[in-house]
């Protein structure tokens, strides 16, 4: 038998190529759609730049965030302006500290609060909502009633009450934000769970005797991830706004730590003396980051929303 070696090898390569063609999953489709969305893509790049700035920006800093430049202290408005010569790229703050380093520090803390706050909300809200939606009936109505009640309380006031009573610290800020931020998440997740619960694969799992806990963990939660991911990206700016609000009032992050809210507050307090840069630099980072986060959230929602298909 004549073996057409080259043909067979061609066939085998063809076959192996066929193997490489992958099915288009929901996430793959979403990625393509997301990358086509220019506003979201630019926002993603901007956000990465801000992140990069917060991590390696301090390499270029001449002054640390704690050093006081005695040569400008006392005459900030005429000597503390932004300049490359003095090494204060963003100028100095009212106490003669380098604003560039302070902004880096504030960026780190604000982003951290945003991400950790959103993470707490995602974990607590997903579990709570999935349990309420999955079990339904009395458990559901009691759990959701609790959420309704907590939602109608003006949480910012309760949050500040918490901070006053248990001391103002970043840790308390996390606890407080975490306590109130999961409510919306729980509602959204519950709504989704209600529809997932009726799917055949969940019924099949129940018939073969899988435990409730395993069904929630293996079948319900993985199918919730799309919604959760979208909502989580929209939560991050919300958390940053909350933290900045509290820090603006002077009740959140305390010296020597700082955050965007605290920096904006300082800058707003001193702008009457002609030291505008103290307001504008933190404000710029705050606005740009929030803009990017909102656009990324919108882009993700469009990418993952099955309505568009």
């Amino acid at each position: 038998m004549i073996v057409l070696k080259d043909k067979i090898s061609k066939l085998s390569t063809n076959l192996s190529q066929i193997d490489e063609i992958k099915g288009r999953s929901l996430w793959h489709d979403a990625k393509i759609r997301f990358l086509k969305n220019k506003a979201a893509l630019i926002s993603l790049i901007t956000l990465l730049l801000v992140l990069l700035f917060s991590f390696i920006g301090s390499v270029f800093a001449v002054w640390s965030n704690e050093e006081i430049d005695w040569s400008v202290l006392g005459d900030i408005s005429t000597m503390g302006y932004p300049s490359f010569k003095t090494g204060h790229y963003f100028g100095t703050d009212e106490l003669g500290r380098d604003l560039y380093s302070r902004v880096i520090q504030g960026t780190k803390i604000s982003l951290m609060v945003g991400i950790i706050g959103a993470l707490i909300a995602v974990i607590v809200g997903t579990i709570y909502g999935a349990v309420a939606g999955y079990f339904g009936g009395k458990i559901d109505s009691i759990m959701m009633r609790i959420v309704d009640i907590l939602m109608s309380i003006p949480y910012m006031f309760v949050l500040i009450l918490l901070l006053v009573i248990f001391g103002r610290s970043i840790f308390m800020l996390f606890v407080g934000i975490g306590l109130v931020s999961w409510l919306d998440m729980a509602r959204i997740v519950r709504g989704q769970t209600l529809s997932i619960k009726k799917k055949e694969y969940v019924e099949a799992a129940i018939t073969i005797g899988v435990s409730h806990f395993t069904i929630i963990r293996r079948h319900i939660i993985p199918n919730l991830l799309g919604v959760v991911a979208v909502y989580a990206t929209l939560l991050v700016p919300g958390m940053i706004l909350t933290e900045s609000f509290i820090s603006f009032l002077g009740l959140g992050v305390q010296e020597p730590n700082t955050s965007w809210g605290a920096l904006i507050s300082e800058g707003a307090g001193t702008m009457r003396y002609g030291t505008l840069w103290q307001l504008l630099f933190p404000l710029f980072f705050f606005v740009v980051t929030l803009f990017s986060l909102f656009f990324i959230g919108d882009g993700l929602r469009d990418a993952l929303d099955p309505k568009d298909r």
């Binding site: 109608s152 006031f157 309760v158 809210g261 707003a268 702008m271 009457r272 929030l290």
Partner: protein, 309 residues
């Protein structure tokens, strides 16, 4: 309708009670009493003061008295920081101020927001529409604590048209900036909601029917499209109210208007527990009442809600 209202009331009243109890428990669990200071008082004096304020009684009794005096007499007790003023005095002093600019902000946000949204929807894809959309996206990242310094920067420091703070009994020039700062982001959200809701309604069948009957455009919009358009806007009024009441804290701080927000932050900084509790409870009651009214209004407009529940 009456059944619906009663049902909502049966949620609202326990919510208020729970709010009062939570704030009481928070205050009770605070480390140190209200009269422990760096220079400790003689033991006998402390004992007498505690007896005067009823702090020597067991916990459940204190709680009962506190709840009772609020519910029956609307009395929030004495301030722990200012010996000559009760919490009621502080609220009576600050609340009218907050009420005045708060009401104006709310009216302006709703009126202008809805109008802008409707105009943008009718003139879709024109310059007006782009302006409205651009404005509502930018206003997302301009919360009140960012708007306030920017407004002062422009109107006080550069143009010199408006005073940068103060109240003076609520003269118009002192009210303008607080109102703008407080209402902008809500105005934008309402405009965005109205626009997308109006676009959806304008594409529906009954509008096409009305149009094919030859009704004039203004009549279609005012008597057919407006009511269904406003439903999502109405459900947003509750969160907007909470947001504005929270925002009033920033306004009071930044513009020194002397509303309850100022007393709240001062109380928070001075650990004046009874004052911040009183304000939290007052704000909570206002929010819950307002949400109740919104729910009833919603059910009155949309029969689906009142028959479903």
């Amino acid at each position: 309708m009456i059944k619906f209202t009663l049902k909502r009331l049966s949620i609202a009243i326990p919510t208020i009670l729970i709010l009062i109890i939570i704030s009481f428990l928070l205050m009770y669990s605070a480390p140190g009493g209200p009269f422990t200071s760096e220079r400790p008082l003689p033991e006998q004096v402390l004992k007498n003061i505690n007896a005067k304020y009823g702090l020597d009684q067991p916990m459940y009794k204190q709680m009962f008295n506190y709840v009772k005096s609020i519910v029956t007499e609307f009395d929030f007790g004495p301030s722990f920081r200012y010996k000559d003023r009760s919490v009621n005095d502080i609220i009576a002093q600050g609340f009218p101020v907050t009420l005045k600019y708060g009401t104006w902000s709310f009216i302006i946000a709703v009126l202008f927001g809805v109008s802008l949204g409707i105009i943008a929807a009718i003139k879709q894809n024109t310059f007006l529409d782009y302006f409205a959309v651009g404005f509502s996206i930018s206003a997302q990242v301009l919360p009140n604590f960012v708007m306030a310094p920017i407004l002062v920067l422009i109107f006080t420091l550069y143009l010199g048209w408006l005073p940068g703070g103060g109240w003076e009994g609520g003269k118009i020039q002192f009210v303008i900036m607080p109102v703008i700062a407080l209402s902008t982001s809500y105005l934008a959200s309402i405009a965005r909601l109205t626009r997308s809701s109006m676009l959806e309604v304008l594409n529906s069948n009954f509008i096409r029917t009305a149009r094919s009957k030859g009704l004039p455009k203004y009549k279609i919009i005012l008597s057919h499209a407006l009511k269904p358009t406003l439903l999502p806007v109405i459900s947003y009024l509750g969160p907007a109210f909470v947001g504005m009441i929270t925002g009033s804290v920033v306004i009071d701080m930044f513009f020194s208007t002397g509303g309850i927000g100022l007393h709240f932050v001062n109380g928070a900084l001075n650990r004046d527990y009874s004052t911040i509790m009183g304000i939290t409870i007052l704000v909570g009651c206002l929010t819950i009442t307002f949400n109740l009214l919104v729910d009833i209004l919603y059910a009155w407009i949309d029969p689906k809600i009142r028959y479903d529940s």
